[in-house]
Amino acid sequence: MAKMNMVQAINSAQDVMLERDDSVVIFGEDVGYFGGVFNCTEGLQKKYGEQRVFDTPIAEGGIIALAIGMGVNEMRPVAEIQFSDYIYPAFDQIVSEASRLRYRSGGEYWAPITIRTPCGGGIRGGQTHSQSPEGIFTHVSGVKSIMPSNPYDAKGLLISAIEDDDPTLFFEPKRLYNGPFFGDPKQASQGWDKHEKGEVPEGYYTVPIGKANTVRMGHDLTIITYGTMVHVSLAAAELSDYDVEVIDLRTLIPLDIDHIAESVCRTGRCIVVHEATKTGGFGAEILSQIQEECFWKLEAPIGRVAGWDIPYPHAFEWEYFPGQGRVLDAIKKVMEG
């Protein structure tokens, strides 16, 4: 066991897989010599050589196409998209190609690729370094979407993703890289070293894809969330007068609806929380499935707390960000009507 922050955990997962499997290669913009703009690949080129960890041209569509082609040639590429705001040029390759390849070829070809990409706001990145685009991909059949909330899960899930024979999107909430974030930028930031999920095995282990995790038990209400908002929701739960359960989805697709439904049917009340814009976000899908599964048990409308339906505005980052206050308001509303 070692203390790791999320950057180190992600780095370690790649290190472990580069070591174990020669078919694993890592590439993306600035991931090679430099080690990535967030240091997630720091030292890996030096350790494994230029041919296994290398830079690419600035063409996200090309990066994913390269990964698909390599995957078809029996390799396991891990591609970094520098910011998830820049994943859109790769949209066609992800949606029409990686996600459809196994299906359209009758199972003869597939794309065992992992796409790592930092997402989310709270770092003063403005509208093009803060987006949470997962809700665009969760509508696409054939690609798995993962978003860890802590170093332990990040490493275990990333190893699972690399080993997975289907394409996986691995969203890294960049605000969590150095420590948990409770939604209040004025609060002194805290590192992962004091957090139990900052204890990370140095070697190989996995966290299974498709399994949600209850991170706080409660009787009154269930919060379903993922990524940065796990910590914000936990903080709000602490402050709340109610006994709140919090579920960290970890994987969005495939969704662990049984786990969710068990909780919501038990508490009878629910809030879905994410940082992405509200309309058409993945929260709507979670809400819909809960409504389908737990309708007769629901004692109040399911609440949604999300980013506003606007681009992430630079000067109003904290007005955009759905912080503890907004989660608390929602708890109150769902509990008290």
Binding site: V25, Q51, T56, P57, A59, G61, G62, A65, L66, A67, I68, G69, M70, G71, V72, N73, E74, M75, P77, P89, D92, Q93, S96, E97, L101, R102, Y103, R104, S105, G106, G107, E108, Y109, W110, S141, G142, K144, D164, D165, D166, G210, P254, L255, I257, D258
Partner: protein, 410 residues
């Protein structure tokens, strides 16, 4: 404020439209045999001219001329001729079957058979192919059973794509042929990825990929070129310039400003422009580029200068946008006729053998087609299992798909 029509805006327009007399008189085409053949490791900077000419071996009088003559054995040439013929006859049959409602869709490669057949022959079987939808000759030359191809086109119970793809979007793993995409161009940089992996593994296999000239405008084309150049990938990047992209002539892809082969220059790779209707020339440039790639020389861009003799697809009526007889005046003739006449000229073939071959192929195609129909067509007979439509979205079926399958009751 704005005038009724664009004042200074330049919109390309083709040489002729329906009702006009087609002619290609001032096309700049050199005589066969006049272009030199550089060493395979020549510096691309020295190769600008090869992108702006047309490399030709067979002239219109049935001679094979010049340095590019690959000197194929008569047997090889007969195999090429046979496969091109098979491709054409197969195409005709399948199109007819589409017309009578047995398939939803079809696309012929008529006039372009040399591109796929000669290239398949010039490559090794271990080389990986990433075609567009108009290189069925690749499968035929590599020996794919026509029955399998037909089963796919009919989306029947034996379709290896399990009824999921439009006809002609073949997949053939055992033949090292990638799954054809409906989205234009996407395979171009994927082929580069495959080639990069081959180099990484230190293997000898190379990749080859094809797009139409219209598809050079896609981002994938540029990505393929850029990534291939940067990583010096062992890959053949083919542009089949058949003059048309559905109704848009090649000027809408920039073909009036520069040749497609000359795109290569800006990426520092060789660009070769070849007479796409000349089996021997296509074979020779492909061999050159494959040898170069295998030798560590990296990628080559090849423009096949040809003509799409048929409609774009069964959904298309070309007489709406070009003279119906444009193909007949195409100055580079028909690839099958040219190879056939050459073989006859050198005493290795005859009209009789040709006729016999056609009949043999015809009979074989009809027989295969009957057999294929016995496994079902799109509208009758057997289909893949309905429940299989929920398979292969992921390697393992997730719960939501299992539930949806149950909901459908299959």
């Amino acid at each position: 404020m704005v005038p009724k029509s664009g004042k200074n805006l330049n919109i390309p327009s083709p040489r002729h439209r329906p009702g006009e007399e087609p002619e290609f008189d001032n096309l700049d085409i050199p005589n066969a045999g006049t272009v030199s053949r550089p060493d395979i490791m020549t510096d691309p900077k020295q190769m600008f001219d090869y992108a702006n000419t047309v490399i030709r071996v067979l002239d219109m009088k049935n001679n094979a001329l010049g340095e590019w003559d690959p000197k194929l054995s008569p047997d090889d040439m007969r195999k090429g001729l046979y496969d091109m013929l098979t491709t054409r006859i197969y195409d005709d049959r399948m199109q007819n079957m589409q017309r009578v409602g047995k398939m939803s869709f079809y696309m012929k490669s008529t006039g372009e058979e040399a591109v796929s057949v000669a290239q398949a022959m010039a490559l090794d079987k271990k080389d990986m192919l990433f075609p567009s939808y108009r290189q069925q000759g690749l499968l035929i030359s590599r020996g794919r059973d026509l029955l399998d191809m037909m089963n796919h086109c009919l989306s029947n119970s034996k379709d290896n794509c399990k009824g999921r793809q439009l006809p002609i979007m073949y997949t053939w793993r055992d033949g090292n042929l990638f799954s054809i995409s409906g989205n234009l161009g996407t395979q171009f940089c994927q082929a580069v990825g495959w080639a990069v992996a081959s180099a990484y593994k230190g293997e000898d296999a190379i990749a080859a990929t094809w797009v139409g000239e219209g598809t050079t405008a896609t981002s994938d084309f540029h990505h393929g070129m850029t990534f291939a150049a940067v990583y010096n990938a062992p890959v053949l990047l083919n542009v089949v310039n058949n003059q048309w992209a559905i109704s848009s002539f090649q000027g809408f892809a920039g073909g009036e400003k520069a040749t497609f082969a000359s795109r290569a220059m800006g990426y520092g790779m060789p660009g070769l422009r070849v007479d796409g209707n000349d089996f021997l020339a296509v074979y020779a440039v492909t061999k050159w580029a494959a040898d170069r790639a295998r030798n560590g020389g990296g990628p080559t861009l090849i423009e096949h200068f040809t003509y799409r003799a048929s409609a774009h697809s069964t959904s298309d009526d070309p007489s709406k946008y070009r003279p119906e007889d444009e193909y007949e005046v195409w100055p580079l003739g028909d690839p099958i006729e040219r190879l056939k006449n050459y073989l006859i000229e050198i005493g290795e073939w005859s009209e009789e053998r040709h006729k016999a071959a056609m009949e043999e192929i015809n009979a074989m195609v009809i027989k295969k087609y009957k057999e294929a129909e016995s496994f079902g067509t799109l509208n009758s007979g057997s289909r893949p299992e309905i429940s299989s439509m929920f398979d292969d979205v992921f390697k393992e079926q997730p719960d939501n798909l299992r539930r949806q399958r149950q909901q459908l009751g299959v």
